[in-house]
Amino acid sequence: MIILDAAHPSGPAEQIRAQITALIQSGELAADARLPPVRQLAGDLRVAAGTVAKAYKELESTGLVRTGRANGTRVNPGLVLDTLALKDVQRVVTAARKAGLSLEDVQGIIAVSWNA
């Protein structure tokens, strides 16, 4: 699931690119998983098809996905970040959910720690 916020400082194409990148690197999107067609995603997110096409093109240029004429856009294998930091983040998310914290709360705490 990706969420697009019109009030976010990043543009819609950048939000799509960043969220799909995160989903691929965290393993949420498996290798060879097929991404939805450009028109479907554009319709669901209420953006122009060109915006999604731009995000897909950037993902392709960074080697995260590949596009075939008949196969659509698929996730390239071997891109999951198997680092300790990722596992720590997943632990933090689980703990925050248990504690009843919202995403904004956690983002605020991380931002403070990041800037400290």
């Binding site: 699931m1 990706i2 697009l4 009030a7 998983a33 209420r46």
Partner: protein, 353 residues
């Protein structure tokens, strides 16, 4: 030889149909749209209510369009008896063309004018690709495709085998039979004569081409309806995701079940025509060389065993299709009926102790 192959093909088709129907078509579970739409908050629930209202209106309009098609076909049949039942033969396919046109052209809403500004600035999407076969029954594409291919093939073969009637229309089955005999002065059969005849109605080009045309238009419209069902953008509210899926599943079942029912009910009467014509063409008078024909007595008629069995098998398959088509029609109405009741309202009354 050819009749034997045709017999095996029909037997195989009948067995395949039975297996397919037993394993897939009878097991259908309907989601409760009213419950799924009621989980969201007040505004989102009103959006779900609007979607349900349009879905209900669309289903009723499709049903009315199909019924109008049936009434028009019946009126044409009674006003033009010289058409030899052509309007009735085309009726199931024509009715489905009208119903599927409504389903394909009438879009369901996905954006609402009264959306809260905060909610309308946020949109979400899952990353699962949706296609024409994503929603609806697992057999939603394969069963109608197999039935359409079998009907098309059957109509083409029947068309090639068909011959003209007295008005030059390809609606008869021509045949050669040993129905005559040459007799000598002592009324002894000396030679058996082969005679040409034709029997109808038979689903030749006269019936086959218009039906085939309507079937292809109906198939195209059904695919279009399934395609637009998959491509329609999701509702904004993530709480309505299950409701949105259930609405798409409902549309998928309505289209696939309706098209399959129509194909069964379209093929069955044409197959019964064919079975009847084949049975008649397989009968011949049993003259034997050397036999003495006394007075006006005519020997018994005998039935070509392969043609006879083929005709019976075709008739049995036609009856099976008729039963399956009727069951599917009831299921189709059941899927439409699930949209008739309004959304359930959550109780807002609090009990004060």
């Amino acid at each position: 030889m050819i009749n034997g192959i045709a017999l095996l093909v029909f037997l195989g088709f009948a067995v395949g149909l039975l297996v397919l129907v037993r394993r897939t078509i009878f097991t259908q579970h309907r989601s409760d749209l009213r419950m799924l739409g009621a989980v969201a908050d007040r505004l989102e629930r009103s959006h779900a209510q609007k979607v349900l209202r349009v879905l209900r209106a669309r289903n009723i309009a499709a049903l009315i369009a199909a019924m109008v098609g049936g009434v028009v076909a019946w009126n044409l049949h009674t006003q033009f008896p010289s058409a030899a039942g052509l309007p009735l033969a085309m009726a199931p396919a024509g009715m489905w063309v009208l119903a599927s046109a409504v389903l394909a052209w009438w879009p369901l809403p996905h954006e609402f004018a009264d959306s809260a500004s905060e909610a309308s600035s946020v949109a979400s999407a899952d990353l699962t690709p949706r296609s024409t076969s994503t929603f609806g029954p697992r057999w939603g594409i394969i069963v109608p495709a197999v039935l359409l291919a079998a009907t098309t093939l059957g109509l083409l073969v029947a068309g090639i085998l068909s011959g003209t009637d007295e008005k030059g229309r390809f609606r008869n089955l021509p045949y050669i039979s040993a129905n005559g005999a040459e007799l000598d002065n002592n009324m002894v059969v000396t030679h058996i004569q082969l005679g040409h005849g034709s029997v109808g109605p038979f689903p030749g080009w006269y019936y086959g081409l218009p039906v085939l045309g309507l079937l292809l238009v109906g198939a195209g419209l059904s695919l279009w309806a399934l395609y637009s069902n998959a491509r329609r953008p999701r509702l904004r509210a993530t709480k309505l995701l299950a409701f949105d899926d259930a609405v798409r599943t409902n549309v998928g079942f309505v289209v696939s079940t309706g098209f399959s029912a129509m194909l069964c009910l379209q093929a069955a009467p044409l197959m019964l025509f064919a079975a009847s014509a084949l049975f008649s063409s397989g009968q011949s008078t049993a003259y034997v060389v050397g036999q003495v024909v006394e007075g006006d007595t005519i020997p018994d008629t005998v039935l070509d065993p392969v043609l006879g069995i083929l005709a019976v098998v075709i008739a049995v398959v036609a009856l099976m299709l008729l039963v399956i088509g009727t069951i599917l029609l009831v299921r189709w109405l059941g899927w439409m009926a699930t949209t008739l009741r309004p959304l359930k309202e959550h109780s807002t009354t609090t009990v004060i102790a």
